[in-house]
Symmetry: C2
Subunit: 249 residues, 2 copies
């Protein structure tokens, strides 16, 4: 699943829109003070095992986070998009490699500097904590996707998440940009390339999506796609109120 943008989280997810609004602005200004670094497609921002000295923010483009097993198998743990953070749940060393899918611009801040800023501006800590909780929540959701959903459900869920990130609403077509390859998607969903292609072709055949080249999907019937995606994100509205009241420092 994508790490979500504010607009995608607005749809009944566990975070109040308000908290994240200020979240993005304040953390954003933190990173804005750092110089932007450019990475060409395929370049690593950091490697699994490197000392986790920095947090990264994506200023432009898309990165994949992955781990390679001893036998060469690769697991994509997630993708990160504009505005999102990388490395927030790593300590000591990075537990995955972060690699540019597209040409990418990122900003880095050292953990030391972040901690110094947290001392100056106490409001920063809850913002960082919120990001950590969000990442944990996303990981748990992904565990459920991989453990309980079949291949087509997984692909549908992946596309629904992408549509939500794009601010998709019920009843209108959503154009999704998918900068990663089918292999990336397959390694993310625990499937093979062929199965991903098959699932997509089937959705196309049923008129639920339209494919335009490799990196563009139009979701034509979002509610149909959603009903195929399993009920992983069935969260009660109860969360929204409690999250605001209980935001940890």
């Amino acid at each position: 699943m994508y790490s979500s943008h504010l607009t995608s989280l607005a749809r009944g997810a566990a975070h109040p829109a308000f908290a994240l609004q200020s979240n993005e602005l304040t953390l954003e200004s933190l990173f804005a003070a750092q110089p932007a670094e450019r990475l060409p497609s395929g370049a690593a921002a950091f490697w699994e095992g490197d000392p986790a000295t920095h947090l990264l923010q994506v200023a432009e483009g898309c990165l994949r986070l992955y781990r390679v097993l001893g036998d060469g198998r690769r697991a994509v743990i997630g993708f990160r998009f504009v505005g999102e953070l990388i490395g927030i749940s790593c300590y000591g060393s990075y537990s995955y490699t972060a690699e540019a899918v597209t040409h990418v611009r990122i900003r880095r801040i050292t953990r030391t500097r972040l901690q110094a800023r947290e001392q100056e501006i106490p409001e920063i800590r809850p913002l960082v904590m919120a990001k950590m909780f969000q990442e944990m929540d996303a990981a748990q959701r992904h565990i459920i996707v991989l453990g309980q959903l079949g291949a087509e459900e997984r692909v549908a869920h992946f596309l629904v998440s992408a549509a939500m990130r794009m601010g998709g609403e019920q009843g209108e077509a959503v154009l999704i940009d998918l900068p990663m390859t089918r292999l990336d998607i397959a390694d993310y969903l625990g499937l093979t390339i062929e199965t991903v292609c098959r699932a997509m072709s089937k959705l196309k055949h049923h008129g639920i999506i339209a494919l335009d080249g490799r990196h563009s999907v139009t979701v034509l019937r979002l509610s149909d796609l959603r009903s195929m995606a399993g009920d992983v994100d069935d969260l009660s509205g109860f969360h929204d109120q409690c999250a605001l009241a209980q935001l940890p420092n």
Copy 2:
């Protein structure tokens, strides 16, 4: 995978034994001041969606953490054992239900009280943070298990993790206590009961494990089992040194 005990983590995992030693002692004393509560097998400590007002520590027994999908499917997210914490990565509301597998004793502390204690004793925060990172690391590992390993690899990995938790060493037989049902294990590994049974029977047939009733497994050849478990935990020793240097506050 189990949330690990100190002794299991001693085998090249991402946490220095020293840090967790003091971790267990100090958080332990925090909870020791709280009254222990008894739960019969099958009782819920809290439900998915409840306000996440407390952290829990397991004083005795085993709990399963699970979520139920809208269509009735159940995903077990993890198991918690003596000394381990529950709810540390939840905020606002619990993102899963915690249910007693066995008769259980737990201690609770409110987040409010925990924060007050953190103010008094600043050393507590890094201990809590370490637990959060540990939980995130375990979640990522589980994502890889579900996404990349086949059924037998998953079961083998599950048993290796259990053996590690029991302090198993290479070359000697390890007796594992598995208090949960095969359905629990299946829902945790994204498999069915039958597949779990098959995998275990196969391991038994090959002389790698011995089965004694429902809740007892003896690992006879740990290195064989380990070689069947995929290379998910292939972590370099580099982590140990960096983790100590970089423990966040």
